[in-house]
């Protein structure tokens, strides 16, 4: 009988501990939109609208105010069953704190690069890091091949290995001006300035209209939204 009570006591203690941690896991919320607006290309209302989007994405699987990898995939592909080398890279680049989850700050700062008004150098930098799979500071031929093969597999386009190799040869011939078998930042920059369409994924027109797509009903009396 005593043992039974003991067990019940322990059970209750466990429950209480559980509840306690739940309380402390509160999301940060939109703490300082003005600060984020200063450090990104977004205006304060755009930050607020972005926060509405963030809330929607981050509550899809676990409602904890944070976006995990699964929620990110869900938002991108409308299914969490799709694995993608590139989505993983994008997620990793967004995750500047390297803790496997995205908080709103990381989300906003990363998306700022995709705004039509963001400086092109930021886009060039982001895309370079995206393709630098091993993060060695240069894009190797093997990395390019890996990415091409992954993309082709995903799209159902069939190309023979010979054809793939010849396309990569052609690309390196043009891009690798130092002829060292890798594409460094400077070579990437030159390539992209010659072929601006290579950066097309780095701009999201949707970000320009975000305040109308995700209206937020927060009122700021002092905000000057120029």
């Amino acid at each position: 009988m005593v043992q039974c009570l003991d067990g019940v006591k322990r059970l209750c203690a466990a429950f209480i501990n559980c509840c306690d941690t739940e309380i402390y896991k509160q999301p940060k919320g939109l703490e300082d939109p003005e600060a984020l607006a200063r450090e990104t290309v977004f205006s304060v209302s755009e930050i607020e609208a972005l926060y509405e989007l963030f809330k929607r994405i981050s509550s899809a699987v676990i409602d904890d105010g944070l976006i995990n990898k699964e929620e990110f995939q869900l938002a991108l592909f409308k299914t969490n069953k799709k694995e993608s080398l590139f989505a993983d890279r994008v997620f990793d680049l967004f995750d500047t704190k390297h803790n496997g989850i995205l908080d709103f700050e990381e989300f906003a700062r990363a998306l700022s690069v995709f705004h039509p008004n963001a400086p092109i150098d930021d886009k060039i930098e982001f895309s370079f890091q995206l393709y630098d799979l091993k993060q060695q500071g240069f894009i190797e031929r093997q990395e390019v091949k890996q990415m091409v093969v992954a993309t082709l597999a995903e799209s159902g386009m069939n190309l023979s290995d010979d054809v793939i190799e010849s396309i990569i040869d052609k690309t390196f011939e043009e891009a690798d001006t130092k002829h060292d078998g890798k594409i460094d930042k400077e070579e990437w920059r030159n390539l992209v300035l010659r072929h601006p369409s290579l950066l097309k994924n780095m701009t999201l027109q949707y970000l320009k209209d975000i305040t109308t797509t995700f209206p937020s009903f927060v009122f700021h009396s002092q905000v000057d939204d120029t």
Binding site: V90, K170, E174, L198
Partner: protein, 169 residues
């Protein structure tokens, strides 16, 4: 004579020795490895904002063909005539088609991949996904994709009469 201002009006100098444009070959955009990579849907973050289910848009969006860009554009124009679609614009190896009721706009572009291969890419630019699915995914896409296999296969069945067309495209 060339220096005379009258002559200069509207005169555009033609550079016969322009290295960029081969005189024998039409100006098709050439794709490099990074162009291919940028086709990846994982790199397209617009899904974050676009709530609509994208699967019908992304299916058969691109395929590789051994046909020439000229032949492909010709086929598209023939298709437009049969299906009564408007050719809204035509540029270097790209055609934009519009449905009669204005409920569909989509573009088909052709890019050169290698000497022998091109990539055909379709993109819905406006209107109904149902119309797009009917026109591209069910009809034009397979027809164009089948072009490169046309030697092996019998020609595709003739397009069905009006009744198959989704009303209001």
């Amino acid at each position: 004579m060339m220096r005379d201002p009258w002559f200069k009006k509207g005169y555009k100098e033609v550079n016969f020795y322009d290295e960029e444009v081969k005189v024998e070959e039409f100006k098709v955009t050439e794709l490099n490895a990074f162009d291919i990579i940028s086709f990846s849907s994982g790199l397209n973050l617009s899904g974050l904002f676009d709530d609509s289910c994208n699967s019908s848009d992304s299916e058969l969006q691109r395929f590789v063909s051994t046909e020439s860009p000229e032949k492909i554009v010709e086929k598209i124009e023939d298709f437009a005539k049969v299906e009564k679609l408007k050719v809204k614009s035509k540029k270097d190896w790209g055609v934009e088609l519009g449905g009669q009721s204005g409920n569909l706009v989509f573009g088909v572009d052709v890019y050169r991949l290698t000497e022998k291969l091109v990539v055909v890419e379709a993109k819905r630019r406006g209107g109904d996904t149902g119309c797009y699915k009917d026109m591209w995914k069910n009809k034009l896409g397979p027809q164009l994709n089948g072009l490169s296999l046309s030697m092996a296969m019998s020609p595709p069945p003739p397009p069905q009469p009006e009744t198959s067309q989704i009303a209001g495209c």
